[in-house]
């Protein structure tokens, strides 16, 4: 490398490289975005299906269309506001339309996508309406009722998300109709350490949650926690219904999960209380 080609050459060369690299990346990002979006959408649906007990193999061998069909056949999407009143997506669509989203775009979004878009634009929308964000926020949340035979729901699935150790972990938690026993849990979209925190996506870890209780014997929320080490080493008796074995070397990921699973359940608890009340009125339990 004995070439000294002068400053102009260096600048020109650097500019060309920068422009070419950014062109390649932006073109590929634009061209591949629809495919990537479709993949993420499918991932969400697959996670919801798996959380209620569909076999992983079954879900992954099905095509995308089959998965979406299975989801719409078996699940009912319930949108509720902060007073636990049922809502429709019309309000969110109408609001987002003010921000120049096209009708076509909005109609193609799932409730989940629509809600996350709506939440991310809340500040802007509140500003437009001349209100404080707090007053404007309708506190929307989603519940997916698993109802394959269209009688009474066999499970309720709620989205959970929050910080693990490095970044946001997203997942779904499925509860049995008693809204106390965990039916299944899934995690996706995480950035935890490979081989340590990332083990939360392993089957053995997730299946531990099945059958655990989120309420104590008095009926108040205690959530399900990840113990340090083996749950049986630190907890005993009825307490064990709320603890699963931890992953050694991933204590901080576990602490993060504990915090956000609880926080997410707290948001839904008022709604669950009403559901439980309705159930006990409807059927003698």
């Amino acid at each position: 490398m004995s070439k000294s080609k002068g400053t102009t050459y260096t600048f020109v060369f650097a500019t060309i490289i920068c422009v070419v690299c950014s062109l390649i990346l932006s073109l590929s990002a634009i061209a591949l975005q629809p495919l990537q979006r479709a993949n993420m959408k499918l991932d969400v649906v697959q996670n919801i299906l798996i959380s209620v007990g569909h076999e992983k193999e079954e879900v992954f061998t099905k095509t995308a269309t089959e998965n979406f069909k299975l989801f719409t056949d078996e699940f009912e999407t319930i949108l509720i506001d902060k007073d636990n009143q049922g809502q429709t997506r019309d309000f969110m669509e109408a609001e987002l339309k003010k921000l120049s989203y096209s009708d076509e775009d909005l109609k193609s979004m799932t409730e989940g996508e629509l809600l996350s878009k709506f939440k991310s634009k809340l500040g802007l929308l509140a500003n437009k309406a001349g209100k404080a964000k707090k007053d404007y926020d309708p506190g929307y949340k989603l519940v997916y009722a698993y109802n394959p035979d269209k009688t009474t729901p066999q499970a309720y699935v709620v989205p959970i998300e929050g910080y693990g150790l490095w970044d946001i972990v997203k997942g779904y938690l499925a509860l049995n109709p008693d809204l106390n026993t965990v039916r299944g849990i899934t995690f996706y979209e995480h950035k935890e350490t490979p081989g340590l925190g990332a083990l939360i996506t392993e089957e053995w870890f997730k299946t531990q949650f099945q059958g655990k209780k989120i309420l104590d014997t008095n009926g108040s929320l205690v959530s399900v926690e990840i113990a340090r080490g083996k749950a049986t080493d630190t907890h005993s008796g009825p307490e064990l219904a709320h603890y699963v074995d931890g992953i050694s070397g991933a204590t901080l990921t576990g602490t993060g999960l504990n915090k956000f699973i609880r926080a997410n359940l707290e948001i839904y608890e008022p709604y669950f209380v009403e559901l439980r009340k309705k159930q006990s009125q409807g059927t003698e339990l």
Partner: protein
């Protein structure tokens, strides 16, 4: 992070002969990027707590290393030496991000496994080290072989360390239990140290010791 470089063989060879074979074979053992060039230690610690992520990392690094070496080698007569490092980084990160984008679009499941590795590959000093030490002074074909050889050399050590850490730290291999249950019942406990980064350092040190004993190389 060390960016130590080794003297690149500047010999010109045009056939798939002995010299080319040497480019590929040397880094496997004699000039192994991890144990002798001491490059890529950070990722060797980060992804070797179990075997599976280590294998994923190995494949990704081999692909990126070959690709970046060839591209840098093709441009070697155009790159102004003053800004060569930054140019190499631009090329490598573009390449890695592009692959990541493609995986997200066409092989989503794999991309989920890989997502955390993308940053680690870009900052892997082997990629930059080989571009600087070899590709910048050699033709594309030898550079490709050098990339392949160094990638494989890196993989061998990574896999060895990962096997050791997973067996002693978790009692399993590729997620399957290998240490029989009765050993646990008579009081065997997994070595917690092994799944933490110091465990990797200890194993790496042992590997270097064994290797140097065999090859009789002495540091100056």
């Amino acid at each position: 992070m060390s960016t130590a470089t080794v003297a690149a063989p500047a010999k010109k060879a045009s056939l798939f002969g002995k010299k080319e074979q040497k480019f590929m074979k040397d880094p496997l053992w004699d000039t192994n990027p991890i144990t002798l060039q001491v490059l890529g230690i950070c990722s060797a610690l980060a992804v070797t707590s179990t075997l599976k992520p280590a294998l994923v990392m190995c494949i990704s690094v081999i692909v990126v290393l070959c690709g970046s070496n060839v591209i840098i080698s093709l441009m070697r007569n155009m790159i102004p030496s003053k800004i060569r490092i930054i140019i190499m980084l631009a090329v490598v990160s573009t390449l890695v991000t592009l692959v990541d984008q493609l995986l997200k679009a066409y092989m989503f499941e794999l991309s989920k496994e890989l997502s955390v590795f993308v940053g680690l590959i870009i900052t892997n000093c082997i990629v930059l080290g080989r571009a600087e030490a070899f590709a910048l002074a050699n033709k594309p074909w030898p550079s490709f072989l050098d990339g392949l050889g160094n990638g494989l050399g890196y993989s061998i050590i990574l896999v060895l360390v990962a096997i050791g850490r997973e067996i002693f730290g978790n009692g399993s291999l590729m997620g399957f239990r290998v240490i029989p249950q009765f050993l646990y019942e008579i009081g065997y406990v997994n070595a917690g140290l092994m799944i933490l980064p110091p465990g990797a350092f200890i194993l790496l040190g042992l590997i270097i010791w064994i290797q140097k004993t065999f090859s009789k190389t002495v540091e100056d």
